[in-house]
């Protein structure tokens, strides 16, 4: 009995150390907090030396050996990283003490320029803590008895999380029932705002839990979180929910709107280069004020013989109520009719942003006019008749 208590104490000490580390790092985001909360229970620390004198189970012995090895390994890695950093700083003629990760990245991309397309494949240098992911600490004491009641699920942190979510949900349901009986209504002003947030993606959650989870398990997580968030009293457990939310980028303010320039005649104009669609490429100039004149490769709108393409050109103009108020000049090459029309449509829409208000820009975004159409022709596959169609199957 004494033994078990002793073991627990060691683990607790480790936790404290780790928590302090988390604090000194000063991670302000809520994911950071979530990560710290789980990391306290999971990261490997130096093996407790005092334990080894007692009678130790086989599992604990092998764990201690592994932990020691890992510690040694990490120590040498850290040392190597520090030396490498100093060398880099010397090479770049900077002070080694104040050389940050950003400086390292810059130095690496300068010294080892890489033409590889995938960013993951390019040379990098990061701290060993990032390169070698955190591993779990001992989940059992010297006698081999697990600490966690869900140890034998093999994913104790994940199932504990599901358990916690359900507990929160039940709490809120009880609260709702009590409030209903009293005739109270949830506070509308405090309502939980989740429009700009997203649940932690699977990879992120795995990092937080230090456990690999299957797709279906992530589905279970997101379903139960959604049920929790849907509760009218969700704001009561805001702190819990926010640990598993990630803020999204505001789409409406993502792209900067260019300032229009002034031409010789004193008209404002904007040129959008590289308007791409399928294999067509265009550059589009929009001038304000204008009379609605459209010039494509020196011709007017009859450059397109197909009705649908003409309609496409007028779509953004009509949508913004700018038909007849601006002049459009476009040069297109490559591609077919609909590709060229699509390229010019995108160019007009992008250029028009400079001449309309913010509300209209958002409206255009929602109508899908400001998104680049990345779809290309799908290639034919061997053993198939086309991209998707298979040859007729004959048994014999």
């Amino acid at each position: 009995m004494a033994l078990r208590v002793f073991g627990l104490n060691i683990i607790k000490n480790n936790r404290n150390i780790l928590q302090n580390v988390g604090k000194t790092n000063g991670v302000p985001t809520n994911q950071g907090a979530a990560a710290a909360l789980y990391a306290t229970q999971v990261t490997v620390e130096a093996a407790p030396a005092a334990v080894q004198k007692q009678k130790v189970s086989k599992a604990m012995k092998s764990y201690l050996k592994r932990a020691n090895e890992h510690d040694e390994f990490m120590k040498t890695q850290h040392l190597e990283f520090q030396i490498g950093k100093r060398h880099l700083a010397n090479m770049m003629g900077a002070d080694a003490e104040t050389f940050t990760q950003e400086d390292i990245n810059e130095a690496i991309s300068y010294l080892f320029p890489s033409g590889l397309y995938d960013k993951k494949a390019r040379p990098t240098m990061r701290t060993p803590d990032e390169v070698f992911p955190a591993r779990k600490a001992a989940e059992f004491d010297e006698t081999g008895r697990p600490f966690h009641s869900m140890f034998y699920t093999a994913k104790p942190n994940f199932f504990q999380l599901l358990h916690d979510i359900v507990e929160e949900t039940n709490k809120l349901n009880d609260l709702e029932e009590r409030m209903l009986r009293r005739g109270n209504k949830p506070d509308e002003n405090q309502k939980l705002e989740t429009a700009g947030f997203q649940l932690l993606p699977k990879e992120h959650l795995e990092r937080v839990l230090v456990e690999q989870i299957a797709d279906i398990e992530y589905q279970n997580f997101s379903n139960s979180m959604e049920r929790l968030i849907a509760s009218p009293y969700a704001y009561k457990s805001k702190a819990f929910i926010e640990r598993f939310l990630k803020p999204l980028i505001d789409q409406s303010k993502q792209l900067e709107v260019p300032k229009p320039k002034i031409d010789e005649q004193g008209r404002q104009y904007i040129t959008t280069y590289e308007c791409l669609r399928k294999t067509a490429r265009a550059d589009v100039t929009v001038r304000l004020p204008g009379t609605g004149k459209i010039t494509i490769n020196g011709q007017d709108i009859s450059y397109f013989s197909v009705e649908q393409s003409k309609e496409q050109l007028l779509f953004p103009l009509h949508f913004c109520d700018m038909l007849g108020k601006v002049d459009v000049e476009a040069n297109v090459e490559g591609g077919g009719t609909s590709g060229q029309a699509g390229a010019i449509r995108w160019g007009i829409a992008m250029s028009l942003r400079s001449f309309v208000d913010q509300e209209m820009i958002e409206s255009m975004r929602l109508a899908g006019l400001l998104t680049r159409d990345y779809r290309r022709r799908e290639r034919k596959k061997f053993g198939q008749e086309g991209a998707r169609r298979k040859y007729t199957w004959k048994k014999r």
Binding site: A195, G196, Q198, L248, I249, D250, Q251, S252, V306, E307, Q308, E311, Q312, L314, F315, H318, F319, S338, A341, G342, W346, E362, S363, R365, L366, A367, G368, L369, T371, R372, D373, Y374, R375, R376
Partner: protein
Amino acid sequence: MSVYPQHFVDPIINKSLQKEKAHELSHIPIKPALNVSTDSIFYGELKQKFTNYILKEGNSALARELLTKTFEIIKRTQIERLHLAKGDKGSIITDAETLLINAIENTRPLLHLSAIKRGGVKYQVPIPLTEKKSYFLAMKWILEAAREKERKVSLPEKLAWEILDAACGQGRVVKRKDDLHRLCESNRAYAHYRWS
């Protein structure tokens, strides 16, 4: 299988619909608008779908032209009828798109028969259709009826007749729907084979 990641949302062109969803979509990326969609008053979703069914070998310009011609014929006949009618002129619809929608609504089947094998015997079991499938069948039947014609008659002409017939609940296509419903009715005893 889409080029865009799963969290991308289909574009909304209707401005009043946009206003309703603006808040929840403010942080969600939108797919680009299709090259057939516009905000012009001549755009109709069902009409667009019907054009795609007329389409043969990707010649969308021809398909569109055929539908336009059909609408022209419908409009001309309806205007003629309106002028010939004595009294009660309000009941004659002259808008071709409304007539097309009416025709499709009138010819939409609710059930179809599907063969299910139970104990070595094939049974024709009536099964309810989804909304999408029933719209598809209605449009397919109208087109099939229109394509079954003599060589001298053009497709727009025949299609216009079929649409006009179906819009007032007559004609071959409506009969085809009724036949199917009747068959389903007579096979209702087998309906339970859907589950057991």
